[in-house]
């Protein structure tokens, strides 16, 4: 496939993306005995200028997915198009110009900066690699430091002279250096103290406005992403469970897994916390080498019935544009269920059957004071 014109505002298009890690065994004959289904048929778009929050617990494949989009890993199947251009299997040379436009900020601000390089070298490296004239680099680095709220005089310091929050600012400055269109933020505040988290989130917000950036914000729980996201995708065991406009996910979670994630977050308000009915989901995420049949969440789901064990639910599109892959959705009315349609982003292997009922007899785990 060759380069196509950029379709209406879609910066990144991901179609039926799969990434399986092979597990090999054998002494003489090296053969593949199984594979880890890290990302299993995921489809979504990123619209220019938006922030998509990607949420899931450890092992759900969110980091693998973000690395596959950056083409740090090569997908097993499916396509990734960046600005209309297929980069799924692009080689080094073809990726070079694309990488200018997509940058990444990593989770651990201690491990992601080379301890033996000065800040000027760390932030200046992407500029040098992409051929910026030597004498312009220092000015540009000063400018970037100022943008992320650090003193330009810090230019010649080493990473160890900075706190965690300041280091994360340096990581952000490095990502900004080439004026990218897309920044993948892989848990950018998880390693920071709460008071500092708020500073970094506000900074990311300002930079997005100023440079018209598109963010993919990866996180392991639903509290932080809410403040940055326009839409949120919830992932479990390599699959998308729910994709929703950001605010609606909190007031009206449709998938029971999202409900469980929301209910599990303790609310920093003792009275509210005592009042709220909480269902603690038992068990742990299953092994992605041998995922459960049907809906991958069924072994832990309080609403699971026979159909959940056998048929993988398609992503149903509800009238508000909210997608959820569940046979027994929560918080939806009869009318909304009747109006639901099978979304074209549903995985290939799933059933056609749309939900018929909402099982309203079951109490809703996620409705935590959210009405």
């Amino acid at each position: 496939m060759s380069s196509q014109p950029e379709p209406d505002g879609k910066l990144l298009e991901v179609e039926h993306l799969k990434l399986h890690f092979p597990i090999r065994d054998g002494i003489i004959f090296d053969r593949q005995v199984a594979s880890v289904h890290a990302v299993d048929d995921v489809t979504f778009d990123l619209i220019e200028g938006e922030t998509l929050g990607l949420v899931g617990e450890s092992g759900c494949g969110k980091t693998t997915l973000s690395r596959a989009l950056m083409r740090l890993l090569e997908p097993t199947d499916g396509t990734v198009r960046f600005r209309g251009k297929d980069v799924t299997h692009a080689g080094h040379k073809q990726l070079e110009p694309v990488r200018r436009d997509m940058q990444m900020v990593f989770q651990d601000p201690y491990a992601s900066l080379n301890p033996r390089k000065r800040i000027s070298q760390i932030i200046g490296l992407p500029l040098r690699l992409h051929g910026a004239p030597r004498d312009s680099i220092e000015n540009r680095v000063r400018e970037l430091l100022e943008k992320v709220g650090l003193h330009p005089e810090h230019l010649n310091r080493y990473p160890h002279e900075f706190s965690g929050g300041q280091r994360q600012r340096i990581g952000v400055a490095r990502a900004l250096a080439l004026e990218p269109r897309l920044i993948v933020l892989d848990e950018p505040v998880s390693a920071l103290d709460v008071s500092v988290q708020a500073q970094i989130i506000n900074l990311l917000d300002d930079l997005q406005d100023e440079f018209k950036l598109t963010y993919l914000f990866v996180a392991h729980d639903l509290s932080v992403v809410r403040h940055v996201s326009d839409r949120i995708a919830v992932m479990y065991l390599g699959k998308l469970m729910e994709v929703s406009p950001a605010e609606e996910l909190y007031t009206k979670p449709i998938h029971p897994y999202t409900g469980a994630l929301l209910a599990a977050i303790p609310i920093p308000d003792p009275r509210e916390n005592r009042r709220r009915e909480r269902i603690v989901v038992g068990g742990e995420p299953p092994n992605p080498i041998n995922p459960p049949s049907g809906c991958v969440f069924h072994p832990r789901c309080p609403r699971a019935t026979d159909i959940c064990r056998t048929v993988e639910p398609p992503l149903a599109r509800y009238p508000s544009g909210h997608l959820a892959a569940c046979h027994h959705p929560m918080n939806v009315t009869e009318d909304e269920i009747r109006a639901a349609e099978r979304d074209e982003t549903s995985p290939h292997g799933c059933g056609d059957e749309l939900p018929k009922d909402s099982l309203e007899t079951v109490s809703l785990p996620g409705s935590a004071g959210a009405s």
Binding site: E57, S58, G149, S163, G164, G165, Q166, D193, V194, S195, V196, Q197, A198, Q199, I201, N202, L203, D205, H220, D221, L222, S223, V224, R226, H227, E247, Y250, A260, L261, L262, A263, A264, I265, P266, I267, P268, D269, P270, R271, E272, N273, R276, R278, V280, V281, G282, E284, A368, G369, A370
Partner: protein, 347 residues
Amino acid sequence: MPEPLLSVRDLEVSFATDEGVVQAVDGVSFDIGQGEILAVVGESGSGKSVSAMTLMGLTRSPNARFSGSAMYKGEDLISASDERLQDVRGAEIAMIFQDPMSSLNPVQKIGAQIVEQIQAHEALPDAQARERVVELLERVGIPRARERIDSYPFEFSGGMRQRVMIALALSCDPNVLIADEPTTALDVTIQAQILQRIRSLRDETGAAVILVTHDLGVVADIADRVAVMYAGRIVEQGSLDDIFYDPQHPYTWGLLGSITRVDKPRPARLPAIAGLPPSLADRPEGCHFRPRCPHEFAKCTEVPPLEARVEGGQHLDRCWLTVEQKRSDREVLPGEIGLRSKEGAPA
């Protein structure tokens, strides 16, 4: 309050380092009674973990200096000999560490690790000790405990390993359980399971729990009383409701204001606390929070004592503002507690 189980007074811990003397804990005092859960809250470097570990003698080293006391059953733990502490640790006071990945021995079966601890404190034959381990593992919610007892730590997930850590801590029926960020390394659904487990164990055994955490959500979920620490000092201490609904220290307001909540409409902008916590080797004089505090005034260069300023006498804080000033200044929006931004402070 009845006779406290553990009573800490004026605890000070400092370490000699290349950068100078680091005063990690500076005059910490608190009591904890039977069956009580005390949360010690603070950010990295606030001294919360050092305080907890010092009670177990885990910070002893040639570079460390201690003063103050920690009275447990009429005995001071701070000045106790290493031999005496060996007997106390595990049996009377036990600890759950933050990182279940690195706090278990990777080359020893989990059952053997727990049996070792039991037999260090009690003369129990192997078979009986093993039987107790199976019971413990079942109690903390590990399925098929009889089979899993012979597994190595790498065969467990993070949540299961943390359960093993809890079983290990409970193996000799301790009276005080110190949990240092027990759920920080875990996913939220697993965190909810572990917190529920700690709460029900407290109900069953009547142990006192000191929970060290940075997460005010966890605190609201489980604690009875709260101590907020900043730069080595307790800046505010009170009941759960005191801290959440009538907080007296501006740092507490800032902490409460900067947490993201999933049950309220989202604010346009997250209130952040400007600036950074001070280096422990070079702390500002007087109130340590002064450089980041928008309500700073002349008196703040003197150290405010930790005392009851609110009526009632159980709610203590270290801030010179009057109670009336605090109650009007802490609202950033009507009904919402937070810290105003400080003019001219570095971002």
